[in-house]
């Protein structure tokens, strides 16, 4: 390599070799540091492998458990053969769409939360705590009531134009995001105050949601009410495909920015000092995060706290390096939501609980714990 020196001399004068009082007599240390770091990276990779195995087990469990219990080996053979007859029908058309939806929503909200927490420099940020989920729910209900996006058949309630519902949900969540952005830019508010602002935005959206309910006819009302608590039972392959396309696009974009998120974690000035356009990063991140949450909310309703649970559990285990956090936190979010949803189906079977209740039971205490941690500091 042409330049083996630590500090380049940018003027064209003679350069001094890397020699400092600190370096004398110690050369083995850098190798040791590098190999220690390799070991640490290896641990993170192992954790990600563990999550993949865990997800596989959860998927199989979720596919086999239910009103009709299907043994593991049968689930596997039905899945492997694309067999959609008999028990295969249950697996492919009833359980798998729901499982995939749980994976998509769990990972999507987790990515959303991870990105928001980084760009807003706020560990309490998530689509739910900042009111963006509520805004999306209001947007969805607005589309159902005024844009004729929902309709019903004799047996079930369906969304006749998911695109319009999603678009409307997205528009309102972008509005909420813009409000959050303006609030953070105009004032130097603390993490806690921003969450209060999020609660205010959520309250405004809830009022709007109630108004929509008041104006809705009975079919529309049924649509809207089913949004109020998150429910993965609506999942279809078509919805999953749309959700997946949005998620993967935004995700890849965020992954490109992983180093910049790392820099942002040191504070905005450090990121700027490293030549990063923090404004662009913040806006891109927030718009991407709200796009994901809008799609998830408009399809499956408000599912609280996954955007906090995923990132925070992951950070505790493997730290905040976004190169790995962005890979592991969606897996954790997916695992948590799939486990919660499976539990919600089984606890009071044959009654199916809305999964949002369970995630709130898990996430609420975490949220309080995070708040307490900040107070202590």
């Amino acid at each position: 390599m042409a330049d083996q020196r630590l500090f380049q001399n940018h003027a064209a004068e003679a350069e001094e070799p890397l020699r400092s009082p600190f370096l004398r007599g110690s050369t083995g240390c850098t190798e040791k540091t590098l190999s220690q770091y390799q070991g640490y990276i290896h641990f993170k990779r192992l954790f990600i492998m563990f999550l993949l195995v865990l997800l596989l087990v959860l998927i199989l469990t979720a596919a086999s458990a239910g009103a009709i219990s299907i043994p593991f080996h049968q689930v596997l053979s039905v899945l492997a053969r694309f067999d959609a007859a008999g028990t295969g029908r249950i697996v492919w058309y009833v359980r798998m769409p729901r499982i995939i939806a749980a994976l998509l929503v769990g990972s999507g909200l987790s990515v959303s939360g991870t990105v928001m927490q980084s760009v807003l420099r706020n560990p309490l940020a998530s689509p739910y705590t900042l009111g963006i989920s509520s805004a999306a729910a209001f947007g969805a209900s607005f589309a159902i009531v005024f844009l004729q996006a929902g309709s019903s058949t004799s047996s079930s309630i369906i969304i006749s134009s998911p695109h319009i519902v999603t678009l409307s949900a997205f528009s309102f969540s972008v509005l909420a995001t813009a409000a959050i952005l303006v609030i953070t830019r105009l004032t130097r508010i603390s993490a806690e105050t921003l969450v209060l602002a999020g609660i205010a935005i959520g309250a405004i959206c809830s009022a709007g949601l109630t108004l929509m309910q008041y104006l809705a006819d009975s079919v529309q009302l049924a649509h809207i009410v089913s949004w109020s608590f998150g429910n993965l039972g609506r999942a279809s392959w078509q919805m999953n495909l749309i959700a997946f396309s949005v998620l993967i696009t935004v995700y890849l974009l965020c992954y490109l920015y992983r180093w910049d998120f790392n820099a942002m974690d040191g504070g905005e000035e450090i990121a700027k000092g490293l030549g990063i356009s923090t404004e662009r990063l913040r806006i891109t991140g927030l718009v991407g995060a709200s796009l994901i949450s809008a799609v998830m909310v408009s399809f499956f309703g408000i599912i609280a706290f996954i955007g906090l649970l995923g990132p925070h559990i992951t950070r505790r285990v493997i730290g905040g390096d976004h190169r790995f956090l962005l890979v592991a936190s969606p897996l954790v979010g997916a695992a948590v939501l799939l486990a919660a949803d499976t539990a919600a189906r089984l606890i009071l079977a044959p009654m199916v609980l809305p999964v949002g209740i369970l995630t709130s039971l898990l996430g609420g205490p975490l949220f309080i714990y995070l708040l307490l941690g900040r107070v202590r500091r």
Binding site: M1, L6, F7, Q8, N9, H10, A11, E13, E15, E16, L18, R19, S20, P21, F22, L23, S26, C29, T30, E31, K32, T33, L34, Q36, Y37, G39, Y40, R121, W259, D260, N262, A263, D265, G266, G267, E269, I270, K272, G273, L274, G275, I276, S277, R315, R316, G319, G320, D321, R323
Partner: protein, 250 residues
């Protein structure tokens, strides 16, 4: 000369916070900007690496006007240690590695990792390399911040109050580290320090700011009783102690 400012002016509102600031920094200089609170010391530092774009005037990095450089190019030449770094759950190694961000497009390469490990060693942080920063002391955290700026391979490192939250031992540890590194490498440091006596001990040159303008600049000879009084508006004696001037408020 590796850095110079030419009539730099900047204001947050209509009236300027700093104006008509010109100076040059040479290799191995440790330049300390002195002045009372709110005089524009931090503003001046931020103008040097264009975190704040000067309203008029120019900052030259080497021979190049920083106006004509991209933020990334500036970041390859100037390292910046702000007063308050946020503590996140990242390992020391990862925090330092971020300093390589201006040097790569997609991801860190072998060379980036080598330099990171070297700077960690240089700063005496090897034993902490894979510890999480939120488990470390304030002094250690400040050294990490400086390491992150050093791994940028800058010709100038800017430090905003690097000792403000440290105990006396760590104050000296941090400043002597900066002095030693700057004297051993072809680079310079520009910093703000509130404690004049600390600054006198570790700096080679000084700028005294008064009301946003340079009141005096130069070596230790500018630290006189009269200048101190003019800038800080309190009476101070300047005595010599072990060859280093000592400023004592009356």
């Amino acid at each position: 000369m590796i850095l110079s400012a030419d009539q730099v002016e900047f204001g947050y509102r209509s009236d300027p916070t700093i104006e008509d600031v010109s100076f040059t920094v040479n290799r191995h200089d440790v330049l300390t900007i002195l002045g009372p609170n709110g005089v524009g010391k931090t503003t001046l530092l931020k103008c040097i690496n264009r975190i704040l774009a000067p309203r008029s005037g120019s900052v030259y990095i080497g021979d190049t006007d920083s106006k004509r450089m991209t933020p990334q190019e500036i970041a390859r030449r100037i390292g910046y240690v702000p007063q308050r770094g946020e503590i996140s759950r990242m390992t020391v190694y990862d925090l330092v590695l971020i300093g390589r961000r201006p040097h790569f497009e997609w991801t860190a390469g072998t060379r980036d990792h080598e330099l990171t490990a070297q700077v960690i060693e240089l700063m005496g942080l090897s034993s902490l390399a894979i510890r999480y920063a939120d488990e470390l002391s304030g002094g250690e955290f400040q050294l990490i911040q400086i390491a992150r700026a050093l791994v940028q391979q800058p010709s100038v490192i800017l430090l905003d109050e690097p000792t403000s939250s440290l105990d006396i031992k760590n104050q000296h540890r941090v400043l002597s580290t900066i002095r030693d590194i700057v004297s051993a490498h072809p680079m310079a440091a520009v910093m703000t320090v509130h404690d004049i006596n600390l600054a006198l001990r570790y700096s080679t040159t000084f700028i005294l700011l008064k009301e946003g303008r340079i009141f005096a600049a130069g070596g230790r000879e500018v630290i006189t009783s009269e200048n101190m009084h003019a800038v800080y508006a309190i009476e101070m004696d300047v005595e010599e102690f072990n060859g280093v001037p000592l400023v004592i408020p009356r």
